[in-house]
Symmetry: C2
Subunit: 189 residues, 2 copies
């Protein structure tokens, strides 16, 4: 159950078995169904999620009812509604599992407790933030001035499994293009 998480941690920091067990002890398993909502709009996010199996998606719905996908975390990744989690403000987004998933959940209290007491965990969090920051940057700036075709090529290069893993509709809403356009582009490669 905890292998994925342990692998994640050992690949990023050196830590004693005792501390590893301590960290794991704060994570509780959670099985979810397809399209299960973890954080609702305007809810204050209290949990951080590690994806053991399945996939979580962060998205919004605008006033016209159109969904926009913001972020996906697959097996071995962390995810949450981070702005709300950090600031404890109502989330301007939804978090859901788009497939039947197995997650490991840690409460915000425990999370920040670990950050405050375990330097190795603080380092892990710093790396999550640094990586998240860089990833977000690359995505914005990678997309700046890109036309639809370039965006699709970008995602194929940077997240090769992405288009195979998520629906056409979700992929399009992540890339900021219409499903029709994505469909047309895929048909020409």
């Amino acid at each position: 159950m905890y292998e994925g998480l342990k692998k994640y941690i050992t690949s990023r920091t050196v830590i004693s078995e005792k501390e590893m067990d301590l960290i794991c002890s704060f994570f509780t398993p959670l099985k979810t169904k397809r399209n299960e909502i973890l954080v609702r709009y305007e809810e204050i996010c209290q949990q951080y999620y590690f994806v053991n199996k399945g996939c979580i998606r962060l998205f919004t719905i605008n006033k016209e009812g159109t969904e926009t996908s913001r972020f996906f975390a697959f097996e071995g990744g962390f995810g949450t509604a981070l702005p709300s989690f950090i600031d404890q403000q109502p989330a301007f987004e939804y978090l859901q599992t788009i497939e039947k998933s197995e997650l490991l959940v840690i409460s915000r209290t425990d999370f920040y407790h670990l950050v405050a007491t375990l330097p190795e965990f603080a380092l892990l969090y710093r790396e999550i933030l640094e990586l998240g920051f860089i990833t977000a940057q690359k995505r914005i700036y990678g997309f700046q001035g890109f036309d639809a075709l370039e965006k699709v090529k970008w995602i194929i290069t940077n997240q090769p499994h992405f288009l195979l893993r998520v629906s056409n509709k979700m992929a399009a809403s992540y890339l900021g293009i219409s499903p029709s356009t994505l469909s047309r582009i895929k048909s020409k490669l």
Copy 2:
């Protein structure tokens, strides 16, 4: 000279005078001219910059020679080519002062030394990352699906001084629209 930095720090953490002086001792003043380059494309970024006066801009130039502005830091803000600074990889961007500016500079070595030895400084860095992350998120997601008019309204709401402070061209390249379009929109409010 260090008032701005001290103000920044005291507004975010509680710290003794001695530690404050220690932190400040690692920052050296730097005066720059308009359009002075701080980090070149493919250079590895070794410094973090605090803006006392003036403004720094992060930007790229694509193969067609068009500039894209990624980020601006004004008085009281921190800025650097963060992905390169973090990973010590060649920067895929330029950092410049767009006005005559007064900066406070800390080397990466000293910066991470402070992060590693002063918990208060580690907290500050964590907050910079968290805030940077949230800001980047808001910008991407705020822009997702926005048309040109909505982007301009967004920037007016979220950074009211922005359009007054930077040139039409730079503002347009930040918003991801053409200078002509921005000009037309401004003329209609």
